[in-house]
């Protein structure tokens, strides 16, 4: 059955699907097939796939267990979505400790990928806010993991790509907010140097920072973009309005031709040009600020049947400007550039996760329509530059990095593999550890 795909819809995988609805479950017997938890399928590449094997579909195990409205501590089952959590907590004056660019992910997925967001420079990753979770192993053992007990398994499971067992429930701390709004400043910048200055200047006073960058522009315009920084609006704003469900759905796969180098270039130029002045101040609801793409259900279909890739990497600050410029040159020259390229700096806060992706430096995330060989070749070229700079690529978004590159960028993978449940595996893990 082909119901469970990854968000990039590449690679295609076929697997047995076993829904898990109850947290007192035992891990379903899958015979000689390996298993992998699957939440809402927002991982882009193959880290949420288990081709030819089995998936435990967890989105039906989505109940709240307890919510302390005074301390902002929430305990829920691992299949609970951030979407449902926001609907509960925003009206009560709380917000997620950190959130990625979509709210349609599960808590289990947030832990397994140790997700990060626009406040990484202040709040670190999701794993930094996890107080406890229960891990169910295929032998039936249930382990309560916290920063103080079963610490090794706690650290391995955060960012552990679902391989250490099934998280049944988790408890984490929320952030107190007065309302549902964000005070936003958008500032145009003309190059990586200016971007880095803006980041540095905003790191302390601004809770959320992120930039859109034009990765098609060449020459003098190279590295231009829009820097966005936001803070929760002051307490004088009272509205705690919750977001609405998406009203638009992409009903069909767009023709592969639709996203070509011309349409991408036009989009990027218009996006940069639509902000006329250098500074714009506004007050926006959290939904369009954090989740602009959630407005369209199944937006990934815009990339056509062949799907698309995300490429997200991080490189250290030292030499980062030159490396980033070299990368932008390669992308612009390839004429495969992407629509929404996002650049941000990561802060120093260390996650407990063993295999976590974020580390201090600059991160860039790009999408590329799948054009087959030429796209894969471009990524190999980018890998070389990223590797030389001492950087790494984000497993949650990857569908193609080589075993060699992964193992060099994540040398701790061998120590990590001690904690993998013997019945658990994924397409990603087989690819980057055995190269198959």
């Amino acid at each position: 059955m082909n119901r469970c795909q990854s968000w990039g819809r590449y690679p295609k995988a076929v697997q047995e699907i076993r829904p898990v609805r109850w947290r007192d479950t035992t891990v379903p017997n899958s015979g000689d097939k390996s298993i992998l938890p699957y939440g809402l399928g927002r991982s882009y590449g193959d880290s949420c796939l288990n081709d030819g094997q089995a998936l435990l579909e967890t989105s039906g195990m989505n109940r709240f267990i307890a919510f302390d409205e005074t301390s902002g501590i929430l305990r829920c089952e691992a299949g609970m979505s951030l979407d449902d959590i926001l609907k509960l907590i925003v009206p009560k004056g709380w917000f997620l400790p950190t959130t990625p660019g979509t709210k349609f992910i599960t808590v289990g997925g947030a832990i397994a990928n140790d997700i990060h967001g626009k406040n990484h420079h202040i709040s670190g990753t999701f794993g930094c806010h996890v107080r406890a979770f229960e891990l169910l192993r295929s032998d039936g053992n249930r382990t309560l993991c916290t920063p103080e007990s079963n610490t090794d398994l706690f650290k391995a499971t955060i960012g552990g790509l679902g391989l250490t067992g099934l998280i049944t429930w988790a408890e984490f701390g929320l952030k107190k907010v007065g309302n549902a709004w964000i005070d936003l400043e958008s500032i145009k910048f003309t190059g990586i140097g200016e971007f880095l200055e803006l980041s540095k200047e905003s790191d302390e006073g601004w809770e959320y920072t992120v930039s859109w960058i034009d990765c098609v522009a060449q020459g003098k315009s190279m590295g231009r973009g829009i820097f966005m920084r936001g803070n929760h609006s002051p307490a004088s704003v009272l509205s705690r309005k919750v977001h609405a469900d998406p009203k638009i759905t992409a009903l069909f796969d767009c023709p592969d031709m639709m996203l070509n180098s011309l349409s991408i270039k036009v989009f990027n130029t218009v996006y940069y040009g639509k902000q006329r002045t250098k500074y714009v101040r506004s007050r926006v609801h959290y939904d369009p600020f954090f989740y602009p793409l959630d407005a369209v259900n199944e937006w990934n279909r815009v990339y056509g049947k062949r799907g698309f890739f995300q490429y997200q990497f991080v490189i250290p600050f030292n030499g980062g400007k030159e490396t980033m410029e070299a990368i932008l040159r390669i992308i612009a020259a390839s004429k495969q550039g992407s629509f929404l390229s996002v650049i941000k700096t990561f802060g120093k806060k260390v996650s407990p996760g063993m295999l976590s992706f974020p580390k201090p430096g600059i991160t860039l995330a790009l999408d590329f329509p799948n054009r087959g060989e030429s796209t894969l070749k471009l990524f190999d070229e980018l890998d070389t530059v990223v590797a030389a700079a001492g950087g790494s690529v984000y497993p949650a978004k990857d569908a193609r990095m080589s075993a060699d590159f992964f193992q060099k960028a994540y040398p701790q993978w061998r120590d990590f593999s001690e904690f993998i449940d013997p019945k658990f595996s994924s397409s990603f893990w087989r690819r980057v550890t055995t190269g198959s």
């Binding site: 829904p19 609805r21 109850w22 039906g60 109940r63 709240f64 267990i65 919510f67 089952e77 509960l88």
Partner: protein, 245 residues
């Protein structure tokens, strides 16, 4: 505030309905076979805002216990305003054709236990002269089909029973709603290939809560199934018998 009894509360559709009522701050009474699962649902409903939640463990196949449990429930939680019947099984048609015990078990759950619990509830509501009974049957009740007539026959029985009961209770002012969901993406249909017509339990649940609020007699959920079943019922049998529905 209403007190709502949900029979078969661990079914995916029932759970979504309970969540909607919890969000409205209602009192909920859950009947189901697995107390652990009921407690998981209870925690969730309490966080979502239910005024109070009560759980009762029951194997609904044991019809002789229905009346006793209702008595026990009312003694503990007070009067019931709305009762929703949501339990059921989807038998494998092929197995049912080959194995009478399997066929009887599914007919028992999907029809006899419905008839029993509907009667017990009717006898409770009739003298009180108020209340609502909502019975989840199925679009499969509307016409016997080759691919699932064992399920369809039991649901047709439950559907006719529900409609008849509405007539009996109309004089006492008790509403009886016959709810006919189409195909729903639940654990019961996990092994089916999902097409465009499959609705999420969430969508179906909100249709059901609306039908109960509006005192509908028969509600197809989602609503487009009324049209689809109207067409399916009107196909001449000479043609219909050759289809693979």
């Amino acid at each position: 505030m209403n007190t709502i009894l949900i029979v078969g509360a661990t079914s995916a559709i029932a759970e979504e309905i309970a969540k909607l009522y919890a969000g409205q701050g209602q009192r909920l009474v859950l009947w189901g076979r697995n107390l652990n699962h009921l407690h998981s649902i209870q925690n969730n409903l309490e966080v979502l805002g239910a005024a109070e939640v009560f759980c009762f463990e029951i194997d609904l196949d044991v019809c002789g216990k229905h009346a006793d449990l209702l008595e026990e429930t009312v003694a503990k939680v007070g009067a019931i305003d709305i009762a929703l019947i949501a339990h059921g099984v989807l038998p494998d048609q092929q197995t049912a054709q080959e194995n009478f015990a399997a066929m009887r078990a599914s007919l028992h759950t999907n029809f006899l236990s419905y008839a029993s619990i509907l009667t017990v509830l009717a006898n409770y509501f009739e003298p009180r002269k108020r209340g609502t009974i909502a019975s989840i049957t199925s679009v499969a009740a509307d016409r016997g089909r080759k691919s699932n007539y064992v399920y369809g026959a039991a649901k047709a029985g439950a559907s006719a029973f529900t409609d008849g009961l509405r007539g009996r209770l109309s004089a006492s002012g008790v509403h009886v709603v016959n709810i006919k969901p189409g195909m729903v993406d639940t654990p019961m249909t996990a092994h089916f290939k999902k097409g465009l017509l499959f609705a999420s339990p969430k969508t179906v649940a909100s249709g059901i809560v609306k039908a109960i609020r509006k005192n509908k007699s028969t509600a197809y959920v989602p609503g487009y199934w009324r049209l689809i079943m109207c067409i399916i019922r009107s196909i001449p049998e000479a043609i219909f018998k050759k289809t693979n529905f």
